[in-house]
Every structure is written in structure tokens, then in C-alpha cells.
Symmetry: C2
Amino acid sequence: MQSQPARRYHHGDLRPALLRAAVEVIGQSGPAAMSLREVARRAGVSHAAAAYHFGDKAGLMTAVAAQGYRMLTEELRSARDTRDGFLEMGVAYVRFAVSHRAHFEVMYRPELYRRDDAEVREARAAAAVLLYGTASPDAGQLAAGAAAWSLVHGLATLWLNGNLPQQLGSDPEEITRLVARYLSTPVNPGAPAQRRRNSYPP
Amino acid sequence: MQSQPARRYHHGDLRPALLRAAVEVIGQSGPAAMSLREVARRAGVSHAAAAYHFGDKAGLMTAVAAQGYRMLTEELRSARDTRDGFLEMGVAYVRFAVSHRAHFEVMYRPELYRRDDAEVREARAAAAVLLYGTASPDAGQLAAGAAAWSLVHGLATLWLNGNLPQQLGSDPEEITRLVARYLSTPVNPGAPAQRRRNSYPP
DNA sequence: GGTGTGATCTAACCATTGGAAAGATAATCT
DNA sequence: AGATTATCTTTCCAATGGTTAGATCACACC
């Protein structure tokens, strides 16, 4: 009847298959729709099989988050080694959020997974080193990194939420380059940042 | 036996009581922990009573989101009418996110509620007018607003997630003023934004 | 004062979920 | 081959969101 591998009792490659299925579900319907049973259904196994491989639902989410941080680190790393590396890292950050929405949404929703998981912590730390430019940033690097990271992170989340005006266009990378122009080193560090009171709002 | 109002069949003020209970639960345990049954328990009614007043779980979340947007609008409005109104609006935005975390988290998680709800749309639009400085922003205002909004929104969410380095301190408002110094009008609009390649990373 | 009509709430039920436990099956080691 | 371990299923449980039928109450109206 069934010409293909048929249904064996042992899947042989179930853990990665479940992970893929989880990312697929989240990408299609959001993290809230990710149920162990739905993921297991897509992989053709019982939901207890998923629980076996990941411990529980949070364990599966933890695996998604860790994978996400590793992927982000990779993207940031190759962006860093370009001309305008600083800007390109910001663009890469937003591109990652949009093109790997499922991972991104899980990563920044700590209540969904176990943030203290060793794998997650390592992957997160590696990404942080790239985002702040060094493993031990001084005060200036810290503030600059926080500003830049906040800008692109806010842009990415607002974009994903549909909270940016449509008039800005439909290309998130382009919007990133546009708003990144508003980021600079403080003209007069220590002094009040905003002098042009009437520049905005009109 | 019971000297107090006892338990009447009709609560008399149930809808607002349920709303308060929902905000309380979300504030304590996050949006994922908000169940109709838990909220109803706190209000001393059956979960069907909550469903009666809000239609369904998404209806209750929708009410939380709408209330949140109205509260945010109010905070932004009073911040606008100060010296350094632009900066103070950013600070107010972050302060709102931290002090009304429950509302904030629901507002920016559209899958939790009905975004097309009339009440939500109005409240959201009112906040947007303040954030962009006008009801019909031109390209410059749009970009500037998106940059500023992205910065404070990213900062707020990263702060709530615990994704900012602890070395930045424990006062989100202070951090807001710090990173806001990196925001300015583009020095050379239209030209590449980043000239100082080596300023960051080191 | 009595009546009835609509609003508000409860009780009971259902399908779905995450998790735990016990057992079945297969791969691997010796 | 036999034993051991890893992997997966079945079965059960408590909790949840949602629906429906019915109970209780408030309030206008006469």
C-alpha cells in the first residue's frame, strides 16, 4: 500500500524533525499556537514522543530559542565583516527578525522558555558580544550598543507587530537604513541631547 | 455569618472588576497565565460570567489593550507639554511600559486580542498622533518618529525582557535619557549614515 | 403592589491541551 | 542469542476556553 518508508516505530530523526515542525507552526500561527500535540501531529508521532525528546513544552521552546540565537550570531558575524559593518549589523538584525520570525519571537519572550538553560545562555552571550562589539564594553560602548540595539530591536518588533505606518514602505531593510541615519554619537556628551525643540513635533 | 455584602447573585460592578483582575494576573504572571477561569476566580464568579461580559478571552485582552492605549496617550500628552517635550515623551513611553507592564505587553502582542476592534483602533490612533507629532506626518516627520519610537520601544521591551546589560543601571528612565543622546536629525540627509567605521565596534 | 421582560450569572457539558505513568518496540551491546 | 537501553505509544488526569440551558435578579410598567 505505502511505497514510502512507511511508518516505523522508530522515527530515526525525530528530534530535529520536531524542532522543524515547531518552527513551522510558530511561523504560521504564532508561538501561542505551538502545542506539543500539533507539533507531534505534523511529525506523525504521539505528543508524548515530543515530551520525551524535549522534556516539556518549555524544553521545545528552549531549543527553538537556542537555535535562533546561534543563527542570529552567524548573521551578525558575517555582517560585521563588511564595509559599514556597524550599519550592516543593524540591517542584518532586522532582516533576521523578519526572515526568521518564529525564532525571533520566541527568543524575546522569556516566559516561553528556560532562559537559564546552558545552551541558550551560551548562544545569547555570543550574540551579545557581537552586538556590543566586545566582551567587556566600557561605558561608551555600552551606551552606544544599547542605543543601536534598542533602535533595531524596536524597529523589528514594531514592524512584526504591524505598528509602523504603511507609508514607510514595505521593505524593512530599507526602513532600517532610513531610521539608522538618526543614530549618531552624541554631539555633546553630557549635555542635554535635544536642543531643537521645534524640530519635532512641528 | 458573613457581615460583609455577602455573595450576591448579581455582582453589580463585574466588568471593571474582571478587567482589574485580568491586569493583576498579567502583571503577576504574564499574559500567558491569564485564563478566564483564574480571572473569574479572583472576582468570585464563574468563568462563564467573564465570557458573558467580554465575549471570549480575546475580548478581555482587547479591553486591556484599549485601556492601555488610552493610558499611554494620556501620559504622552502631558509629557509633550513640557520643556524638552520630545525627549520627555520618550521617557514617558518607557516609564509607561515599566509601570504598566501588563497593559504594555498585551498592547504589543496583537495575536492576543482583536486589533480591528473599534475601541482599540481609536485609542491606538490617538497615541500614534502624539508619537508622530501630527495626524498627517510628512516623510521627515515619519522617519524621525519611527526612529524615536523604535528607540524607546526597543529599549522598553529589551528592559522588560531583561536583555539589557545590568551595568547600565537599574533605572530605565535614566537609561532612556542616556541612549536618547544618540538620537539626532541626520547630519547629512541622503548620504550614507555611518562614516565613523571604527567608532564601534572598537 | 404585582408582573413580566431583559440582563446577569451559574451549572453542566465538550473538545483540547500539557504532563505523567506504564507498557510496547526496536536498536545496540556483549 | 540475551540483556540492556533508547525510543515511542497508550492511557489517564487536571485544567482551559467555549457553549448552552437554566437560575436569579433588577427594573420598568401598569
